[in-house]
Amino acid sequence: MQSQELNLQPEPGRKQASGTWWATLRLPLLALGGALALTTLVLLSSGVSPLQAYRILIFGAFSTPVRFSDMIMLAAPLLLCATGLTLTFSAGLYNLGVEGQLALGAVAAMLPLRLFPELPPALLWSLCFACAAAGGALWALLAAWLRLSAGVSEIFAGLGLNFLASGLALYLVLGPWRRSGSASMSGTELLPRELWLPTLGALRLAPLAPLLALLALALVWWAVRQTRWGLQLRAVGLNRVAADRLGVPAQRRIAEAMAGCGALAGMAGAIQVLGVFHQLIPNISSGVGLLGLLVALLVRADPRWVLPVAVVFASFTVGSVQLPLALGVDSSIAGVLQGALVLFALLARGLSRRVTG
């Protein structure tokens, strides 16, 4: 069960000798074409003009400053998750538990908010992010521990821990942290306005969130590409046996990669609490972790592509919000497009493998 074929990293050695544009663009074009074909068929089936739908899906998020800022606020946690997953994918792990790590980060971020609401906001925020990172990392380390010492596949452990984390959030929202006099799944009391992450004017854009995400991406990029630690991480992901022979402490690197991913996902959780929802809700992750997994699967742990793909995915999601209003169709077509892109990317990779090897 553990020896899944981890085809996660870019394979520089497989580059085709023929350097024609077709050879380099074949895979992405096949994936894009297949995904668009499927999505178009789905759109046509509900009698919607695909062109209009695509116009809204692709450009909708850039049409007004408000939408653009919404897109940024979605892209920020998404970027953090996808960046974190770059670490675990580099180490050859499917961290399916990223959703739970995000939720636990959000729960942990609530702790200082509830315990020390009197602290100056800046200090409180730092504390929140620190707690969130610690919470996410802890949850990820639990999965890593299960993997390394009890041999539980990180896929199933992560899945189970996701549900446990959402159970915890549910318990807190409906139990000890509920609004006074009510018990609703809609979330805890809203934070006081002064504790919301400061925004740009009337927009919902809190610049701290994307800044943090970009910083994390840069840091991870640097760590994976420039440091020996990152090199060791990739070595473990590519070939654990050989890495071990070359003196890399593989187990440690795996645990560190998981913890790093958990910490970043936890910080994404803190953004959801402080900058997006301003409260803890049961569905605090809002599927951002799963979307992050899609992004990471698509870019195969290559940090260069994380930012553009995360932004594109976020703009699909934000753009799709206008679909019901403008075209009368459900906005989940964004998810169809995102999923289809990854599915056809897998298909294209499989086909090319079959052709070349």
């Binding site: 520089p12 050695g13 020996r228 630690w229 590519l238 070939n239 046996v241 050989a242 022979r245």
Partner: protein, 526 residues
Amino acid sequence: MEVAVHNLCKAFGAVRANDDLTLRFAAGQIHGVLGENGAGKSTLMKLIAGFLRPDGGSIRFDGREASLHGPGAALRAGVGMVHQDPLDLPAFTALENLLCAAPRGAIGSRAAGRQLLSELARRLGFTVEPDAPLASLTVGQRQQLEIIRLLACGARVLILDEPTTGITAAQTRALFAALRRLAAEGNTVLFVSHKLEEVAELCDTVCVLRAGRLVGEQLPMPVPQRRLLELMFGAAVAQPTAGGAGEVRITALRSEGGLPANAGEDGTPALPGLHGSPTTERIAGEAVWQLAGVSARAGSVALRDVSLSIAAGRIVGLAGLDGSGQPILLRLLTGRMRPETGHILVNGRALSGGGSRAYRAAGIEYLPADRLNEGMIGALSLTEHFALLQNAALVDQRAAERAARAAIADYAIKATPVTPIRALSGGNQQRALLALVPPDCRGIACEQPTRGLDVASAQAIWRRLLERRLAGCAIVFASADLDELIAYSDEVLVFFAGRVSAPLHRAELSVARLAELIGGVGFGGG
């Protein structure tokens, strides 16, 4: 049923595993198939049993040409194969193994299967409980069950691949009795082995393969052991691998005295200028490895009570056929396996409880045979490998590239510093592997260091290893190439079915002596 192959060809990449084989196995007899590692025995057997499809030529059963698209088809045609590690289902019971995917109509019902199982077991003198979980059975019992299963499924030709590895003497006796009985009943048995005594004891005829070709066809037993060894290891074809080794072999084989104790004296092979005086070296180094009463087990092979000491500056060769236990020793020496009992000292410090990282820290390097899967990371370049070996937190890209360039120059590796390792040829990969060994290394354990390399590459590798040895490094290597073992070893340990011979010093080395020991001759009865 008679089995015949005509002009059979099978190639794996550039290697011609079976090269235009034409051969006939008569019904009602036990046929030995001999050959050293890589001679093409297994390929031939897998072709006949339908596991592989030939590139050319034909397979005929009782004169009718058979087109086998899989082992199922072969079994329907009456051919069954028992693999060295039986291809059975440990999670099932014996009876379930018998019933699983049995051909339509072969076994009517569960009850019929149970009856058939006990009946066949009784007839063949086997002891297999129908309801015993397979995981609780010994390899020998699992093999017996496989034979029963194949017979129950209608096999009239049985192929056994190294069946006596990992089973007890009593089981071997039972097996042989059963095989004789089966042959007497008109079945054909193909017995693949490299244990000459067993072949001599059991087989009616023997054929010998070497390098994919038939070198001895249907020799009716008994054939003199010496003749078989000569056929297997190629007395007639001298290959100029290393210095005068070829001559040694020929003289050794030609001398009539059986085990010429003096063979080493006139035929000490040497690489001039590199090989120092053996006698002085023998005393010089301190012990790098010391093993006391070490036992360990991997799969069906167990090493028992091994004690030895390997000094700095010594080269120890490990001889033996596949599955005789050499990899276990290599793994013990490098901390990849922990001994069940006994102690291992490295540089005088007890390390038996440590893992591979502790050994590595103590200056022990392991060079695996599977260079790409265990040795290096195919997707990374030589520069990145050197970067991995650095100590600082930040990669010093320039230093790593310098090291890579130096290695490329020193070791004549045909690559750029940024070429992914997987894009290199085998010889270059091996040189890169060697180049990555740190200069202060105390001991190197290599598995098949020159496997798959051409002569020039192999010599280049050995030049490097010998340089290391001059720098005070102890080298242990396992090889299937007797010439290589003789040419470079200060002493050789021969492995046979998990047992280790006393060290043979270079003075005592000869191909004949090694071949005998490898074939199990001289390891005593049982």
